[in-house]
């Protein structure tokens, strides 16, 4: 009961929370005083960062209230049988709200329309960290907390029903919020009747039994996205649409060059402009607040700010050498069998190649936006952040407030794909609102969004492997260099994004470490280990492949640009190099690329997705390049790639078919075939949407996308200087084969297909033309150069 009280004081319930409560049959006062309900609290689950020990199920009158700084989350079943579920995993566009609703409806056997989901509001929902990876991480599926809470509630309802109906729990069945006796359906009782006017306060039971997949009726089906009718009719409230009484509009003024700092701000330059309320300067953070957005934009353009020169940027044209040679480094030895050098020395053939991947950006279609209402000692921020709790803690630092006095309410922003401007713009709005003493909305300009976001990291990757006389790989070495600066702010580093740094906070310090310590356990979270490596630590092998001899070493160096997670961070880059190189090895061994992969794999699930994609593509088994290549005209070819994402989080294989115009170097992807296995499928249509979208985003990243700069500043700041494949391009046909494994662990799927695209396309270009492209993006100039370099 306390949780309502806490939620209402000192901060008010949001209108949608109130309406959700009403929909669930509660008014706040009624709920506290009279209404019956069955609640399951998640307080024992603890914050995402500190998983707490499970506690036994207990129906306790007045369960202990959660710690003061932590809001309990719960499932509530009202006296009318309606269900409200609170979750810390938000809907960023990947279908998570629909899937979580399915999850609750399934466990409780209630119709979907009786479940209301409230997500990501620090006043209500638990700290479940960030919702990341387009649902690629199992925790995002919420199959522990939320489903376990629902299962706890179902078991309690069955116990109540057993007593009520004079039967044992295993004689009962539930459907549509009614529990009945299996062989005597006339004997039944509804959830509403069971709850009645009573209150049941339960603690989440880690041992409550989930409904087996064989009994699923709603989960596992292609339930339609619950948000779409509002989205496609312009009724949906994005964070951009949040409006508060008395709200003003802010615009930030970012430095003209990387590293430039404020010398002087001439407020008089805008003082006569209509609607201008205030110029705000805090260290190097500069912004303008006005009555209307257009006034704020004009004032920010007009404001005279004198900046120091920038600190300079490394040469764009020699960037990859710069990364390779930079000191100091932070080194990570992911795997070292200590015999790779010796095995390579004894190999019949040794192959070497270097691959390059540029910085790329999230480039959300809508520039980032947030609304903040900061008062003397408290603040409310409507934010598109992936993590409301980390945003609360770091916004409190930026504002100099106590975290418990800051409330962050998630509102969907424009497509996320990782750390876009969501967190930084939330600080922007908070700082401007604090200065103005009124609610302020900030939407970044296109340029401010693109020139200062935390880019996906560039990579240089050296691959070296040896083949024996039979064409089997005997050893594989991978060494990479990638730059890093900033990242997710977490709970204490607002300086990891541009606004925090401008306002005086430092990014996470670079911690040099060389040589790297010995690997103690197998961790392929970054997909630095190729799929064909056995991954042995001591006597145990954890990888998906058969090659026992391997050395996998990564170097981080300091970055001149902000970096952060971009859909398949690092994994896409590593996989591009490894799966391209695997193709080079297959060609050297004169083996079919699919068969060559299969004979170096020992994980049958990875083999099966590979075979599924090849079968769908009607794969023509033969070595690459295809026989009888002519060096002119349009050439066609096919390429393949596969991965176990993060080493444990989703199997995928992809076949790409391309056309290469050999006179222009233009590459067109005609068809793609994906095989995907992420364990149990909760919503096959939502899953297909993710695989398709990932595949196409991968095509754009492989063919076009690259951040560029001069000696002072980033030059990719709009859609002409950073290109993205538009709706008008002739999209390839995409066929997705889903392998459902209802009884396996749930894995992610948001980042599987995108991880494979660059390598599958590069391999297809090689198949079509015999030219190998080792640098992303595959621009016509680059492809043409590779074609011209053919012997």
């Amino acid at each position: 009961m306390k949780k309502f009280w806490k939620a209402t004081s000192p901060l008010a319930l949001t209108p949608e929370a109130l309406s959700a409560l009403k929909a669930a049959g509660f008014s706040r006062r009624d709920f506290l005083k009279t209404s019956g309900a069955l609640l399951v609290g998640f307080s024992t689950a603890g914050p995402a960062s500190q998983p707490a020990a499970s506690q036994a199920l207990g129906e306790r009158a007045g369960a202990a209230s959660p710690p003061a700084n932590q809001v309990d989350s719960w499932i509530a079943i009202a006296a009318n049988g309606n269900v409200t579920a609170y979750t810390g995993k938000c809907e960023i566009g990947q279908g998570m709200s629909t899937v979580q609703t399915q999850l609750v409806a399934e466990e409780l056997s209630v119709p979907l329309n009786r479940v209301t989901l409230i997500y990501s509001d620090t006043a209500f929902t638990p700290d479940q960290g960030v919702t990341s990876g387009s649902g690629s991480h199992p925790a995002n599926f919420n199959n522990t907390n939320l489903a376990q809470g629902a299962a706890t509630a179902r078991e309690a309802l069955f116990r109540l029903a057993a007593a009520h109906l004079g039967a044992t729990a295993d004689q009962l069945t539930a459907a549509d919020s009614v529990i009945s006796v299996k062989n005597d359906p006339a004997k039944k009782v509804s959830y509403g009747q069971l709850v009645g006017g009573k209150k049941f306060n339960l603690t989440l039971d880690r041992n409550a039994k989930r409904k087996p997949a064989s009994e699923w009726k709603v989960l596992g089906t292609p339930v339609k996205r619950e948000d779409l009718p509002a989205v496609v009719t312009g009724q949906f409230e994005f964070v951009h649409n949040v409006r508060l009484p008395g709200m003003l509009h802010g615009r930030v003024v970012r430095p003209p060059a990387v590293g430039a700092t404020v010398v002087r701000v001439d407020e008089s330059s805008v003082q006569d402009m209509p609607g201008v309320v205030q110029v705000v300067v805090k260290k190097n953070f500069v912004g303008v607040v006005a009555q209307k957005p257009w006034q704020a934009i004009q004032a920010a353009d007009r404001l005279k700010v004198t900046w120091t020169p920038g600190t300079g940027l490394p040469s764009y044209s020699r960037y990859y050498d710069h990364l390779r040679n930079q000191k100091p480094t932070r080194d990570t030895m992911v795997l070292d069998s200590r015999d790779s050098e010796q095995k390579l020395a004894g190999a019949a053939t040794v192959l070497k190649a270097t691959y390059y991947h540029p910085h790329q950006m999230h480039g959300s279609v809508g520039s980032s936006c947030a609304v903040a209402d900061v008062q003397a000692d408290k603040a409310t921020i409507w934010s598109p952040t992936q993590g409301v709790w980390p945003q609360r803690n770091t916004a409190a630092m930026v504002l100099g407030l106590k975290p418990e006095n800051v409330r962050v309410i998630y509102r969907r922003g424009s497509g996320c794909y990782g750390l876009n401007g969501a967190d930084t713009v939330s600080y922007d709005a908070a700082l401007l609102s604090q200065a103005a003493g009124k609610p302020v909305r900030v939407q970044l300009s296109r340029q401010d969004e693109m020139a200062w976001e935390n880019y996906g990291s560039a990579f240089v990757m050296d691959e070296r492997a040896g083949l024996d006389a039979q064409g089997n790989i005997v050893a594989w070495e991978h060494e990479s260099w990638s730059p890093t600066l900033g990242g997710r702010p977490g709970n204490e580093t607002p300086g990891n994004v541009i606004t925090g740094m401008l306002a005086g906070f430092q990014p996470q310090e670079f911690a040099p470490r060389s040589p790297a310590p010995e690997p103690r356990e197998f961790n392929n979270n970054g997909n630095a280990v190729p799929s064909y490596v056995a991954g042995c630590i001591g006597a145990e092998c954890y990888g998906t492949g058969t090659i026992k001899s391997a050395r996998i070493l990564g170097h981080n160096v300091r970055s001149s640009f902000w970096t952060g997670p971009l859909r398949s961070p690092g994994r896409l880059q590593n996989t591009f190099a490894q799966e391209s190189f695997m193709d080079e090895l297959a060609a050297k061994a004169k083996a079919d690329p699919v068969a060559f992969r299969l004979r170096h794999l020992r994980d049958s699930r990875l083999s099966e997705v590979l075979q599924a994609a090849a079968k769908a593509a009607n794969w023509d088994a033969r070595p690459s390049p295809k026989p009888g290549i002519r060096k002119t005209g349009v050439a066609t070819g096919r390429g393949v790639s596969c991965v176990l994402y993060e080493g444990r989080n989703g199997y995928c294989a992809l076949v790409a078919e391309v056309e290469v115009n050999q006179s222009t170097g233009q590459v067109a992807v005609r068809r793609m075939f994906a095989g995907n296995d992420c364990g149990p499928i909760s919503n096959p249509d939502g899953l297909r949407n993710q695989i398709e979208g990932g595949a196409l985003q991968g095509v754009s990243r492989a063919l076009l996308e690259e951040v560029t700069w001069d000696d002072q500043k980033v030059n990719s700041f709009d859609w002409k200087t950073y290109r993205s494949l538009p709706l008008g391009f002739e999209a390839p046909k995409i066929e997705v084969v889903l392998i459902n494994r209802p009884n396996e662990r749930a894995m992610g799927a948001g980042e599987t297909s995108i991880t494979l695209v660059a390598s599958a396309i590069g391999n297809a270009i090689f198949d079509a033309t015999g030219a190998r492209i080792r640098q992303v993006p595959f621009t016509p100039e680059r492809v043409k150069a590779a074609l011209d370099a053919r012997a």
């Binding site: 009718p229 496609v232 649409n241 209509p274 709009d718 008008g728």
Partner: protein, 154 residues
Amino acid sequence: MSVITLKVNGRTHSLDVDPTTPLLYVLSDDLELRGPKFGCGLSQCGACTVIVKGEAIRSCSTPVKDVEGVEITTLEGLGSPEKPHPIQQAFIEEAASQCGFCVNGVIMTAEAFLDKNPKATEAQIQQALAGVLCRCFTHVRMHRAIMRYAQGRA
């Protein structure tokens, strides 16, 4: 500031605004419409598209004074969640969205084009969307939804 008369979705509004203000800001901030969205402010992405005199225009770079008195249709003007327009219904049927931010530009551009070119081929429809971006890359489903709608109205 001066008083401007705008006709939006069949309603007339008199607004005291700077006449050089881009239409988008008036629609989303003065009239609090949620359909048209700020994407780039440069006419490069399509998120702000509205239909004026049958043409899809970029409201982020159209001064409000240029559309005074003419009928403006926004995404809200096509249909509602309860009674969606057939093109909106097609997007629901095909689940043609991920984050949904770009959907306004896709639907409004396609709708204006198909109204003028009811017999357009798939390639022509695609060409009409050359300046519209979706960064979730829901392209395949969006094409499918538009074709479903185009075939349904033919």
